[in-house]
Symmetry: C2
Subunit: 317 residues, 2 copies
C-alpha cells in the first residue's frame, strides 16, 4: 500500500557509440535504430547514439546524423553524441542533439596520441564550442559535457595526479562546459580512488557539476567502482549493452561496464533505474544476430535472473 519512492539512478547507454567504434563490423542503420528503439522501450532514458567524426576515421559511426534524427522521435529519450572538435559540435547542433560530450584526456600523452591535440589546444576548442552554444536560443541549446578521460590513470603515463584531474575539470567548466564526467578509460580505477578523485574534482568544480562516471571493467572492478561512485553521490553511470567497446588508443584497455549487469546491481539494491531488466536482456538478441563474430559479455545474461527477482521489494530479502 502507498507509493514506494526509490532513489533514482540514470543509466546512460553508450554502446551505439563507444561499443561500435571499437569493433570492425559496421552495423546497418536499421539495426542501430532497432537497438536504440528496443533499449528505449525497455526504459533506458539516455543513449549516446554516435559520434560526429570523420567517416574516414570511424566509418562505423558515419550515420550518426540519421540516428540522431531517429532517436529524437522517441519520447522522453535524451539523445547524446560525442564530438572531438568544433566541426563535430556544429554537426551535432545541426542535428539537434540533447547532449554533446567532448573528451579531454587527463594524460596529455594520450590526448596527443588520440586526437593530436595538447590540453591547451583542446581547451581552445571547447571555448569555441561553448561560444557556439551560447549563441543558440535557450530551448535549443544542448548540454555540453566535458568528459575527462584517463582520469584514473593511463596506459601510457601510468598514474595521473588527482590535482591535475581537478584542475582540468575546472578549466573545462571555465571554457564553457555545463558539466563534467570522469572516465576510467584504461580500467585503472579502484573504489578508494573513485571516492578520492570525485571528492577532489567536486571541491574544484562544485557538487552539481560532476554527476557522471564512465567506467570500464578491464580488471573486473567496474561494478565495485560504480558502488564507490554511488557512495559519494554520483547519479549517472555509463554502460554498454553486452559490454561492447573500449578504447583503441589505450592498448590493453577493453570492456565497458555491461549495462545489463549494472542495471541488475542497481535494481537489486533497491535503486530505481526505470529499466525493465528482463526486456533489456532481450535486446541482446539484436546484437547477437547482427554481430555473430563478436564476443558478447554479461554475467546476468549467462546466469539468468534470480528466482522471484520480479517480486523484489515485496518479499523478504
Amino acid at each position: 500500500m502507498g507509493l514506494s519512492v526509490r532513489p533514482t539512478v540514470l543509466v546512460s547507454e553508450v554502446g551505439p557509440r563507444d561499443g561500435l567504434q571499437n569493433i570492425q563490423a559496421i552495423l546497418p542503420l536499421a539495426v542501430k535504430q532497432a537497438w536504440i528503439a528496443a533499449e528505449a522501450a525497455a526504459g533506458v532514458r539516455e543513449i549516446e547514439v554516435g559520434s560526429f567524426v570523420s567517416p574516414k576515421l570511424l566509418p562505423q559511426l558515419a550515420d550518426t546524423a540519421e540516428l540522431v534524427a531517429f532517436a529524437r522521435q522517441i519520447p522522453g529519450l535524451n539523445v547524446a553524441v560525442l564530438v572531438a572538435n568544433r566541426r563535430g559540435a556544429e554537426a551535432a547542433i545541426a542535428a539537434r542533439v540533447h547532449k554533446i560530450t567532448i573528451p579531454l584526456s587527463v594524460s596529455e600523452t594520450h590526448s596527443l596520441r588520440n586526437v593530436r591535440r595538447s590540453h591547451a589546444e583542446m581547451l581552445d576548442e571547447v571555448r569555441v564550442i561553448g561560444a557556439l552554444l551560447r549563441d543558440l536560443p535557450p530551448g535549443e541549446r544542448p548540454v555540453l559535457e566535458g568528459g575527462l578521460s584517463t582520469a584514473f590513470g593511463c596506459t601510457l603515463e601510468g598514474p595521473v595526479p588527482v590535482e591535475r584531474v581537478a584542475r582540468l575539470g575546472l578549466a573545462l567548466l571555465q571554457a564553457g562546459c555545463d558539466e563534467i564526467g570522469l572516465s576510467d578509460t584504461a580500467g585503472y580505477a579502484n573504489p578508494a580512488q573513485i571516492k578520492t578523485v570525485v571528492r577532489a574534482v567536486r571541491a574544484a568544480v562544485g557538487e552539481a557539476a560532476l554527476s557522471s562516471l564512465h567506467l570500464h571493467n578491464t580488471r573486473g572492478l567496474g561494478l565495485a567502482n560504480v558502488l564507490a561512485g554511488l557512495d559519494v553521490g554520483i547519479s549517472t553511470f555509463d554502460g554498454s549493452l553486452c559490454g561492447l567497446g573500449g578504447c583503441p588508443f589505450a592498448p590493453g584497455a577493453s570492456g565497458n561496464v555491461v549495462t545489463e549487469d549494472l542495471v541488475f546491481m542497481l535494481e537489486s539494491m533497491g535503486l530505481d533505474t526505470g529499466i525493465d531488466l528482463a526486456r533489456l536482456l532481450e535486446v541482446r538478441r539484436i546484437l547477437r544476430t547482427a554481430l555473430p563474430q563478436e564476443p558478447l559479455h554479461g554475467f546476468t545474461a549467462d546466469a539468468g535472473l534470480p528466482l522471484h527477482y520480479a517480486d523484489r521489494g515485496r518479499r523478504p530479502a
Copy 2:
C-alpha cells in the same frame, strides 16, 4: 621513510576445495601440492586444501589427508578444510588441520538436497563436532567455522529471510562453532543486502563472531559485494584462483570470486593482503597446464597489471 601501516585483509584461497570439487578432472596430488606451495610462496596465508567427504562422492578430493599433511609443513600457512558431518570432522582432527568449516544451508530445501539433512539434524551434527573439539588440548584444537550457505538467497527457495540467517548463525555458535561465515552460494547477493545481512547476523552473534564472506561472481557483483563487506568491517574474503568452482547443487550458480582480481582490488585500494600479485598471477600457469580443458577466469590476468602498479602508494594516485 617510516613504516606505512596499511589495514590488513585476509584473502582465503578455496580453489583446491571449492574449485576442484566442481570440475570433472581429478588433479594429481603433486599438482595440488605445487599449487598450494606456489600460492603460499606468493603470500597467501590461508588455503582450504580439501574436504573430508566420501571419495565415492568427490573423488577429486580423495587425497585431502595427504594435502593437509603437506600444507602443514608450510610455515605460517593456515590449513583449512570443509567437512559435512562428524566423520569428516574426525578425519580433519586426525589430520591436524588448523580450521574446519561445516556448512549449514539457510535454505532448508537446499540443505536437504545437498546433504540430505534438515536444519535440526545439521545442528545436532555441529553439537557432536563441537564436543569432539572441546575434548582436545587447547593447542591442538582447530577453529570451527559454521558456514551459512545460501545466506543471500537460494535457486530453489528464492529470497531467504534475514531473520532466519541471524537465527541460524546464533544456533551455530550455541552448537559449538567459534565463528560464522556467510556464503552467497547462488550468486544472488547485492551490496545493499550484504550490509543488511552482515549487520543483522552481527546483532545476533556479536561483532567478532562474523568476519568472513564467501562470495560468488555469478551475476558479476562479486567484487562490489566484497566492497560492501569491507564497508561493514568484514576482514576475510574467500577467493578461488582462476575463479574455479561454484555449487553443483545450486543450478545456475557458478564462479567464485577470482582471487587474482580480489587481490588486485584490495591492494589497489591500499589494503594489505600480504600477497605479491605478480607472483600470484604466475600460479595460474599450474592450472593452465594441468587443466587444459577448463575455462580459467580473471580480468586482471587478461589485462595485465597497470603501468607502475608496483610503485603504488609511492606515486600520485
